[in-house]
Amino acid sequence: MTATLEVVRAGVRSTIQDLGRVGLAHLGVPRAGALDAGALRLANRLVGNPEDAAGLEVTLGGCVLRPSKAVTLAVTGAGCAVWVDDRPASWALPVAVPAGAKVRIERATTGLRAYVAVGGGIAVPPVLGSRATDTLSGLGPPQVQDGDVLPLGTPLGPPPGVDLAPYPALPDELTVGIRLGPRDDWFTTEAIETLCTASYAVSTLTDRVGARLIGPPLTRAVTRELPSEGVVLGAVQVPANGQPLIFLADHPTTGGYPVVAVVEPEALGGIAQARPGTALRFRVVDR
């Protein structure tokens, strides 16, 4: 019999994520995948999985899992206390979980999204080459619910022996590297100056599609409508209200508002972990 992972308690919002669907944007299929891809990759490495295996993305922690067989499990991303039955277990290290034991991941004390990898990976059937839930289009497995029983794959081998996995601390204020363009010339010089110097705050309306920001609005120099054009992960789009929004993994493949800049890939993990209210500044790395 194959191993399964019972989701005793799913938490506020938990989805299955891998590294997403790349190569289908021309068909309108969003990429999806872990918002903090570095954290999922690390969790997978810690349990001996390929980095692109599917795990759980648990928003704010607070979930309980029970494997049917003995497994190796790792929790990364948001900082959470981890328990195996009544024993405390390590965060961001491989944890040996006996068959039937309850793994309790407490509410996150830092960050926003915890990642749970299990040896063998979550083996729900892939959809268009990925097991990721896409909250924008509804592709992939549904959001994880209390009582779900998820199939697990076969582990490739024993997990690596690890005593310490370096993981950067989450800063109180984010500094996000950007490259201006493609539509920076649609904004006034003052707007670009504002973008590069002002402090923004992450809004409560932040989800897997995008991190909305609150701060000084960016004024357009070109006010005509932008014909829909392809957008990339990390695009800083400026809708009609002038408040920038950073596109995350479930972003639409095309958009009709100008993209003033694009976030450097290294900054995306920090944005995925930024709780509403976190201060954020942009820094231009290349003009």
Partner: protein
């Protein structure tokens, strides 16, 4: 034509005219197929083609600026597939569209089935294809308030575009009919019938 840098690994090609987009798209697909271009995504849109996942964007941008593409007018139109979409003209906005076109229901059917559409690009939702080809005098505005739910297969118009909703979704387009044909199938490769460049003809179907 302009090539705009878009972050570290992407380029946005802004075409001189929307009619150049299919020519650029096809030319870039060919370059990728022959190994002359590496890109994870090639995404056509209204006036642009996005290249994402490009390993050396500065070099590719320089190459693109010297590239001569075959103009759309010289492309072989039969090289792309033709999809016929059997359509029942029974949409709730049929009378509104007839009024905007100064005709009646039969007139809307005649214009819509008489137009050879082309998939300009996809977006909004998986398999949602923006169809061009409708003469400018038949362009219609979106509805003032969007409907909360349009059924999969709804045949609709907005602005310069036609479309068929691949899945149920909210929508503000003018609905003129519906089709039973399945546009988006996860088990098919590619999962959608209407890939960019495909020509589309709507064929009238009586209500059974």
């Amino acid at each position: 034509m302009r090539v705009l840098r878009t972050g570290r690994a992407a380029l946005l090609i802004e075409c001189d005219a929307p009619t150049d987009v299919p020519a650029w798209y096809r030319s870039l697909l060919q370059r990728r197929a022959t190994g002359a271009l590496h890109a994870d995504e090639i995404v056509p849109a209204a006036q642009t083609v996005l290249l994402d996942g490009v390993t050396d964007p500065a070099r590719v941008a320089a190459e693109l600026r010297t590239l001569r593409i075959t103009p759309a007018a010289e492309l072989d139109p039969t090289a792309a597939g033709l999809v016929e979409i059997p359509t029942v003209y029974d949409g709730p906005d049929l009378d509104d569209v007839a009024r905007l076109w100064h005709t009646d229901r039969a007139g809307v059917l005649a214009v819509h089935t008489g137009t050879l559409f082309t998939v300009a690009f996809c977006g909004f939702a998986p398999g949602f294809a923006y169809l061009t080809g409708l003469p400018e005098r038949y362009h219609v505005p979106r509805r003032d308030s969007p409907r909360p739910r349009l059924a999969a297969g709804t045949v609709a118009l907005a602005g310069e575009f036609g479309a068929v909703y691949p899945n149920a979704s909210p929508g503000g387009w003018q609905c003129i009919g519906h089709t039973e044909i399945r546009l988006f199938d996860l088990d098919a490769d590619p999962p959608t019938l209407l890939v960019p460049g495909t020509r589309v003809r709507f064929v009238p179907q009586a209500v059974r």
